[in-house]
Symmetry: C2
Subunit: 344 residues, 2 copies
């Protein structure tokens, strides 16, 4: 299967005549979850599993477009501020293109394990004595003065690529679903989905979905209408207090007759466990969509009867594998011991 | 994209009339690597990136078939002995099917991080005071006495599923490649590829590829013709001293006019790094195929001019993310400092 630029080129606002820099991203599974649908009272529930992308998260959709555009503009290098998924994706696609890649990190705020991908793809990793915002500001200023391209989601080509997931969902289902629920961190992804669904409706007609954007309670800037100085949540991929695309996301939710809500960490972890018990291991943030749907249904604010629902799971569980080990029992290698333990 | 059973059902020896237990495995990318091809003197080199499967490794192809067959036979549960990828895949597909899953581990030989997936999917994890072979023996004996199905690769449905990767490669290229290089651990996968390519050639005509199976030097049982009591290699997924499908693998290599060779760990790690520098992060074992090709070409034992080559990369780098952190430099958030550091 070709990557998203080759599949959707005529729908994308990209420079002409450039060969795509691709790792065969996109074409991710849409997996039906009948038991979870039934619990919610919905007629159908599907998971769009973005963890199957080459670097394990949805970021690859926007990075193939951002890096392709960088090559077409003759960029000498690319730069991003990141603490995880963006760095991995930028480093992989820059490597694919043979471009230099610089990753700026806020000093002391990043688990070294999260950067394994950036190192292994050969990116130059620089720690900045300051916050994430300072690191991003520095990357931005450098990109304005040089031919080094910024590939954070402020880069409009990122959203151009990310919107293709909406195309794939409508293609798989034959129409847009009634509801799309997804995590909201920097708010670029919900904005991109809305761009994608609107573009399809403009071109081909058909209905638009309603969007349920879900923040974590400890990082609920859009729900609370303020910058959160010290965002906290177990869902590290949405631990963001001042979303770069916040206004665009609020507009998308409103235009879709949907909304942005917040759910507590325990609801996110419950949803993550329940998805795993249906066969899909996603990173905690990716379970926010399902947690949000449940919270709305349980509170009587959402009736999903007759509705077709899609939850976006943005990253693989392997991205954030710090699962508490479960109980193990030690036995002798004797059949009788095993049979007793398993109550056979 | 549907899973492999739906795509290839008429080619698979599976019980009739059962709904597939699927997580949309397969349809993994085949990624062209022109720079690496040129280094080898080959006309084309493609990577079959099996890390894009739902649990991050090729095991999912064989698990959809094994678990589907288990459901069709009315299994009460499934069991496997494992130290990693098999456990993750068995746990995920059993969860998808609503089947009980038991994972047996040799005590003290398993890094707990490797089991995160099994725990999170709700498998029952049992440690056995003994070796991997003893754990496997126990699982096997239990499966013979009860309606609990063994889903280790001794289960023939595993290979039925795994052979579908050969179908996908031939479909993508329009024909079988000239060479297929891949890691050899328990030797089930090379056997399955050979089954797949032969089946296609029997049904549709066309040439067969030559197979280059690659073991790690410290675990080179098939190359040395003996059981390795204490197999050692950095490539944990092929750290196996007594391959269950060893004879079948040797026959496959011979029938294909190919061979099975061994390469040292440093060659595997070099190949892993070079793949990452082209954008693909694979687990160490997955780089063995490329390392083997290089070793044969450099020694003058293999001439790839005019040849079309495919390397099978069996698992994602996220499966084994213990990459040594690279150098980082700490700077103040000042543009000048960053420019100096980057030699701009």
């Amino acid at each position: 299967m070709p990557g998203i630029i080759e599949r959707f080129r005529s729908y994308l606002d990209l420079p002409d005549g450039v060969d795509p820099v691709t790792l065969s991203e996109g074409s991710t599974p849409l997996i039906s979850m009948p038991r979870l649908a039934s619990d919610l009272g919905a007629v159908e529930l599907h998971i769009k599993f973005e963890g199957s992308n080459p670097t394990g998260s949805f970021k690859d959709r926007g990075m193939t477009t951002a890096i392709t555009a960088a090559v077409s503009r003759g960029a000498s290098a690319v730069i991003c501020a990141s603490t995880g998924n963006t760095a991995a994706s930028a480093a992989a696609y820059a490597a694919r293109a043979g471009l230099r890649c610089v990753v700026l990190l806020p000093h002391g705020k990043v688990a070294s394990g999260k950067l394994a991908a950036a190192y292994t793809h050969g990116a130059e990793v620089v720690e900045v004595e300051g916050s994430y915002d300072e690191a991003l500001g520095l990357a931005r200023r450098l990109s304005e003065r040089t031919s080094i391209n910024l590939v954070n989601s402020l880069n409009p080509y990122r959203l151009e690529g990310q919107k293709t997931a909406a195309f794939e969902i409508s293609e798989s289902l034959g129409a847009a679903p009634d509801w799309v629920a997804l995590p909201v961190g920097n708010a670029g992804n919900i904005s991109a989905y809305w761009m994608g669904f609107r573009q399809l409706a403009d071109l081909q007609g058909g209905d638009l979905p309603r969007l349920l954007g879900v923040q974590a309670s400890g990082s609920a800037s859009l729900v609370e209408g303020r910058v959160i100085d010290h965002p906290e949540t177990v869902a590290s991929a949405i631990r963001i207090g001042n979303p770069a695309r916040g206004e665009q996301a609020l507009r998308a939710a409103e235009e879709s007759s949907g909304r942005i809500i917040a759910v507590p960490d325990h609801a996110i972890l419950d949803a993550q466990r329940d998805l795993a018990h249906q066969g899909l291991w996603v990173e905690p943030a990716s379970a926010a969509g399902l947690a949000g749907l449940r919270s709305e249904v349980e509170a009587g604010r959402l009736d999903l009867s007759g509705q077709r629902v899609v939850c976006i799971c943005t990253g693989h569980g392997l991205k954030d594998p710090h699962v508490p080990a479960g109980p193990t029992t030690l036995i002798q290698p004797r059949l009788q011991d095993l049979e007793e333990l398993l109550n056979l």
